[in-house]
Amino acid sequence: MFGEYLIEKKLVRPKELVRAVVMQHKKTPGLLEIVYAKKLLDEPHLLQALAYQARNGTDFKQSCVALGFWTDAIEETVHLEINTHRVPVGQILVKNGDLSMETAASALSDYFRSSPEKNYASILLRSDQTLEKKTDVSAVIREEPRELPEEAVFEPNFHRVDGQLLQDYLDLLCEDKKNELEKILVDIETGSKGGVREASTETLLKALFRDLHTIKGTARFIRAEVSEHLVHVCEDYLSLYICFFEKMEDKDFESLTSLFLNALDFVWDIRKPLMENGSEEVYWQQHEAGCRSFLVSLRTAQKEIRDRNYEVNLADLEHLF
């Protein structure tokens, strides 16, 4: 993180960073505050969640999830609110007089350039020219959290799991299953070449989706949040292919194969630490940057297709029904 970078470069002292982070936390609205202010849940649901929280010693979000109140829409709204209101640490350090504006801007630029694996950061500050054109440096610092893509704010929780549930998940991720999925991907790419979209390719896409869905559901069951999220993002992307299969181009299928082969590697790589430790935490500590970078790649590819604004044309589909 940027704060750690500042410490590492001895641009600020730990106590200055801690003070800035504490101030940032104070200024950032909490989950309950956002949910209440934005009326994301009504009072009866709020009370139920708070009661559950008190009884079970969980946090507010966990209570809402357990009670089935927490939706993707609420998640998105909360993240947007947090990112809108969170004051960047750099800005607080400048305001506190612990860092000069010029030093902050220079450090920010170096931070993004020196960490190429932090692709989400490079999306925020796309090129040196972007930084150079900014005359208001505080705007650059301000820009940081506002544009954070979704995958940069993904923060998994880690749970230990063992016994039969873990074993069932590990059995699902056997080498044969990986080989099977890789073959499906190769067949999809091969079968789709030349612009002719065969029905068999559509069948393969659905078979792939079904397998991923099973893996995701099982990962969710054992609360392997990193694996679940990886596969969830893959599903989102793949669903576009299933919906608009006939409009996809050859290069889209090449992209799908390439990305998904990587995705399978990630999911299967998590298998070993999960088996050894019953948790994804060790894996995440070692591979967080790579995972985030890959997730951003997936979302970027997905966005590119969505930006084509393909529409479901009912007239074209009527003959199928």
């Binding site: 939706t71 079904r210 099973t214 099982t218 069951f221 969505r306 009912l314 199928l320």
Partner: protein
């Protein structure tokens, strides 16, 4: 209470059975699990075989015949049967291609899509799939980018439970089914 369930994952079936047993124990009511199936067609056959059933739990995404198609078959044959759909489906997965604004045009489009899916349902009820056409409800939902939960409600499901299963959600659903005939979605 007599229950049957369908899910292609034995782990999920086992988990649901455990949750149901726990819920009914807390409610002080007897529970009998009459059988399990791993796809929509087998779930329908099971329903035919075991006779009177209070609640059917069915996963949506299953091989051979999905749960929504199974729902159509079950409700056609047993109109008063209570069926609860379950899924790991992320609600937004199938709808993200389209923005939701609830406009008249969107509502009209949804109505058209449902009419098209009704055509699939007719073939399922008659047992007459037609080559080259969409013959399963979930396939239709994917082709038309329709929320499968809306379709479940349209075909008479009593509720929807989103996985992972949670004792509170399961108990809430059971209580709801014994007191109300309205559709309840616990996401």
């Amino acid at each position: 209470m007599k229950i049957i369930l369908g899910d292609d994952s034995s782990m999920h079936r086992w988990t649901l059975v455990s949750m149901l047993k726990e819920s009914f124990r807390e409610l002080g009511q007897p529970l009998e699990i009459l059988g399990e199936a791993d796809n929509g067609a087998k779930l329908f056959e099971l329903r035919e075989k075991v006779g009177n059933v209070d609640i059917v739990f069915s996963d949506i995404r299953m091989p051979e015949m999905d749960g929504l198609s199974g729902l159509v078959k079950i409700k056609h044959r047993f109109p008063s049967q209570k069926v609860v759909m379950v899924s790991s489906e992320d609600l937004a997965t199938m709808e993200r291609a389209h923005s939701k604004n609830g406009s008249d045009a969107q509502n009209e489009e949804l109505a058209k899509k449902i009419t098209m899916i009704d055509g699939v349902a007719q073939r399922i009820k008659a047992g007459t799939p037609v080559p080259g056409k969409v013959n399963l409800i979930l396939d239709g939902c994917e082709k038309l980018v329709v929320n499968p939960i809306d379709i479940a409600k349209h075909f008479g499901a009593s509720g929807y439970l989103r996985k992972p299963y949670d004792p509170v959600k399961v108990k809430t659903m059971i209580k709801h089914l014994s007191t109300s005939s309205s559709f309840l979605a616990l996401v």
